[in-house]
């Protein structure tokens, strides 16, 4: 007598372990990924540059004063950054700039001004504090 082997039932692949793995991956990426991209700006080189520039030339630095977060004072007149840059560019881009700050100015405003001046070619920048 010939005995045929029983036909096995076709087993479907279970999706449950796959879902588990995917959920684990999802939780890992949710916890470990960050969306803020950290960068940096140089502070020290500008200070050294201006000291060297002052020593090398007799040019007086342009003195800008930040009294609040919006206005930059140049020769006692308040300007916004966009107004001030063309005026400074008429003077000279090689002039060193001394940026004096009061305690009303926050770091975000300082960084905005520094970046604006740097983008316009003013690299010789020195920071100073002033008491008003």
């Amino acid at each position: 007598m010939i005995v045929f082997a029983k036909q096995r039932r076709k087993s479907a692949i279970s999706l449950v372990p796959m879902i588990d793995v995917l959920l684990c991956l999802l939780i890992f990426f949710m916890l470990s990924s960050q969306f803020v991209r950290y960068q940096s700006i140089k502070l020290s080189d500008s200070a050294q540059n201006i000291t060297a520039a002052n020593n090398a030339s007799s040019k007086q630095p342009v003195i800008l004063t930040l009294k609040d977060n919006k206005h930059i004072y140049f020769e006692q007149q308040p300007y916004t950054l966009t107004q001030l840059i063309p005026i400074l560019q008429k003077e000279s881009q090689t002039l060193p700039i001394t940026l004096t700050l009061t305690d009303q100015v926050n770091i975000q405003a300082l960084v905005d001004v520094m970046d604006g001046l740097k983008q316009s070619g003013f690299n010789k920048l020195q920071l100073e504090s002033v008491n008003v």
Partner: protein
């Protein structure tokens, strides 16, 4: 004749839609985020384009109470700063809250610049 209402078939929820959503979420986190190399405990000022942050940085947190290095208030003295500068190869990263007084950074800069050749300020891309 009685017509018994047929029992509705028990619907099996398909797991495919769940898998699709999880895949989409994973792809989103892969594309939009990046694996956090270093976490900073401040919200730094925003900037359009800064310099790439080098991987090994000694970070000093600038706070009202003073300068903090590795969560310890830094005692400002020549020997302390010289030791720290030697340990950090003359490079230091200042991290400060974006709404903090800018004078804190200026004061920190004046204290550190004689010991560190390369001082940077932490910013975040806008």
């Amino acid at each position: 004749m009685f017509n018994r209402p047929q029992k509705p078939k028990k619907e099996v929820e398909s797991v495919f839609s769940l898998i699709n959503i999880i895949f989409l979420l994973i792809v989103f986190f892969l594309v939009a985020g990046h694996i956090a190399a270093e976490q900073f405990k401040v919200s730094p000022p925003l900037l359009d384009q800064g310099e790439v942050l080098s991987k090994k940085n000694c970070t000093i947190y600038v706070k009202k109470e003073g300068l903090y290095y590795q969560d310890i208030l830094l005692k400002i003295s020549n020997t302390n700063l010289a030791n720290l500068s030697h340990r950090c190869n003359g490079e230091i990263l200042l991290a400060a809250q974006n709404q903090a007084e800018a004078l804190l950074v200026v004061n920190a800069l004046s204290q550190l610049k004689s010991h560190f050749s390369n001082i940077k300020l932490l910013v975040a891309q806008r």
